[in-house]
């Protein structure tokens, strides 16, 4: 049974334009402004197996948070179906809550005035975790997320990074089988992000927790997830392993050559010299114009190659291209009929 499954999940909101300006008229009371339906999520279908770690990404307003809210049962879909941990979320919200952990990066699940430990104690009681189990789990989470130093401090006195680590540890107090994370590293500095990602990665690997993560930060996605679901305008755009996303959508790769020649040169169609230094040549290769293997072969033939590296562009570049529409949707000419991008 999949950990998470959605079938044609759709949500539309009825939006009424507020009548501003133009003075007050009695007719406005009798005839409210016309309402329009805003389709936030349309026919979203995907399935996530237990233990999978999936990034759920899209530009602002793509429908990520709306989908996540439907999956947690705090938003009713307009149509379609979803099951998470075997429960229909909006029908069994409270039962489901015992099986999932939720972290909203911009909202706290902890109690601002209480020390972190007291917040955890309360969460343990809310979820009905047995005392001995709770003590053991708290010790492991305190150790795993390195929060022992400030666990007795009030939540209000923690830095954002410290608080977010505590939020995630708190969401795991009842050992959920599924963890839903909405922008868990938002607002953190580079070190804070790296620390949080490391802890989260280690935890999910160790416990086999299914992770569904929304983030605008490609670092979160690369570090924690193996698969990515991309949505835009509420519609599923792509669903594939991150490794394949990077591999298949690379229009450009960077080839760096360390050569025996002092001023190396490799003129080819689809190849641009990005930097020429003594004994070193950096090339940008358009893989749609020339296969990378051909460039490597040409370099080995024409130059004295002492070292060679082929690098992928950052995932961020790929995702930006997807959002811009430079990379097509399933069904377009850039996709094979079986849904695999060409």
């Amino acid at each position: 049974m999949p950990a998470i499954r959605t079938d044609n999940l759709t949500k539309s909101f009825r939006v009424r334009q507020p009548a501003l300006g133009g003075g007050w008229r009695p007719s406005r009371l009798l005839r409210p402004a016309p309402a329009t339906d805003l389709l936030a999520v349309r026919d979203l279908s995907f399935s996530i197996e237990p233990g999978e770690r999936v990034a759920f990404i899209g530009p602002n307003g793509a429908g990520k948070s709306t989908s996540l809210k439907m999956l947690t049962g705090i938003l009713l879909p307009s149509s379609g179906h979803a099951e998470i941990a075997g429960f229909v979320p909006w029908r069994d919200r409270r039962k489901l809550a015992r099986h999932i952990g939720i972290v909203f990066g911009q909202r706290s699940q902890l109690w601002w005035q209480l020390p972190v430990r007291a917040s955890f104690d309360l969460l343990g009681q809310i979820y009905g975790v047995e005392r001995a189990v709770y003590r053991d789990r708290l010790a492991r989470l305190t150790d795993g997320f390195a929060i022992g130093e400030y666990i007795d401090r009030p939540v209000s006195q923690l830095s954002l990074g410290q608080r977010l680590r505590c939020e995630i540890a708190g969401a795991l107090i009842h050992a959920p089988s599924i963890l839903l994370l909405d922008e868990p590293t938002i607002g953190l500095d580079v070190t804070g992000k790296a620390l949080l990602r490391d802890h989260l990665d280690a935890m999910s690997r160790h416990t086999g927790t299914t992770v569904l993560l929304t983030s605008h930060d490609t670092g979160d996605i690369e570090r924690i997830c193996e698969r990515v679901i991309v949505i835009d305008h509420g519609r599923l755009l792509m669903d594939l392993p991150i490794a394949r996303l990077k591999r298949d959508f690379l229009r450009h790769r960077t080839v760096t050559l360390v050569t025996g020649e002092e001023t190396p040169d490799l003129a080819m169609t689809g190849v641009t010299a990005v930097a020429v230094e003594p004994y070193r040549l950096t090339l940008a290769v358009d893989t749609t114009a020339v296969p990378i293997e051909q460039v490597v072969a040409a370099a080995l033939q024409r130059l004295t190659v002492r070292d060679l590296s082929v690098e992928n562009p950052p995932l961020e570049e790929v995702i930006k291209a997807i959002y811009r529409g430079d990379i097509g949707n399933p069904g377009s000419s850039q996709w094979r009929p079986d849904g695999i991008p060409v």
């Binding site: 049962g73 015992r98 009681q125 979820y127």
Partner: protein, 266 residues
């Protein structure tokens, strides 16, 4: 199992409410000072009023100051908890509260009960101490004290149900403050915050007595004027009836408000 765990969770929320109320030392002290000031003003007022002209031997300054001490005790113990729900709805924090395995309204009520228990204790010491200091007497028979405590607990429970409904109304109105303002004025006037309802002229006395507001303030405070077992039984019956009616209404409002929030996402 889930049933037992729900009670454990509610107990934890009640404990949280107690702890948070106990931590508000400055606010409790400030409210206590205000309570004493109100009682001091009305003690002077009732003593300057020719109450004997009313021809009601039970309306003495001593009894009336204790009447006010009881109504103020309940008002201060209750606080204004509707604002927490209003804030949760307006900020969107309700979404994360709903993702817990315990009902939102039940958790709120449990937490408020914990806080009110602490404040009932604190303001009993402050308010009743002041009333005793001013009047030099306790016009309540010792046998009635348990009845008074039970009546106060019922009053606070009824008030909490009203606060719950007012807070949840934010899902429709966007702000609960105007509704609370109207309700509070109704409570003060029809609930007999300062003057016992038996002093109201007809038909206003009748209107006030059949309103739920009477069960919130006037009913428990009237024990300072009439400590008979018959009156105590009447008061407790009236309060229990209103508690049941308002609990049913609050359940319906909760279902409708949460249903609306879940359908709209705001």
């Amino acid at each position: 199992m889930a049933y037992r765990s729900d009670w454990g969770a509610l107990g934890a929320f009640a404990n949280l409410g107690w702890r948070l109320a106990a931590a508000e030392r400055l606010a409790t002290a400030a409210r206590g000072a205000l309570n004493v000031l109100i009682l001091a003003i009305f003690w002077a007022f009732w003593r300057a009023t020719p109450l004997a002209e009313l021809g009601r031997p039970d309306f003495t300054p001593e009894r009336l100051i204790w009447y006010l001490a009881i109504t103020e005790w309940i008002v201060f113990a209750t606080g204004m908890p509707y604002r927490e729900i209003e804030e949760d709805i307006r900020s969107g924090a309700l979404a994360s509260r709903l993702s817990r395995p315990i009902g939102y309204a039940a958790a709120c009520l449990a937490q408020w009960c914990g806080g009110a228990a602490f404040r009932l204790l604190a303001f009993a010491v402050i308010g009743f101490g002041a009333a005793l200091g001013f009047s030099g007497t306790v016009p309540l028979a010792p046998a009635i004290l348990l009845g008074l405590l039970l009546s106060a607990v019922l009053a606070v429970a009824i008030l909490h149900l009203c606060h719950l409904m007012i807070g949840l109304a934010t899902t429709w109105t966007g702000s609960a403050a105007p509704l609370h303002w109207i309700w509070q004025k109704g409570l003060f006037v029809l609930g007999g915050l300062i003057i016992p309802l038996t002093l109201y002229p007809t038909p206003f006395r009748g209107i006030a007595e059949v309103s739920p507001f009477a069960a919130m303030l006037s009913a428990p405070a009237s024990l300072a004027l009439d400590s008979s077992p018959e009156h105590t039984a009447t008061v407790l019956t009236l309060q229990t009836a209103w508690l049941v009616v308002l609990a049913a209404l609050a359940w319906l409002v909760d279902r409708a408000a949460i249903g609306r929030f879940v359908a709209r996402g705001t």
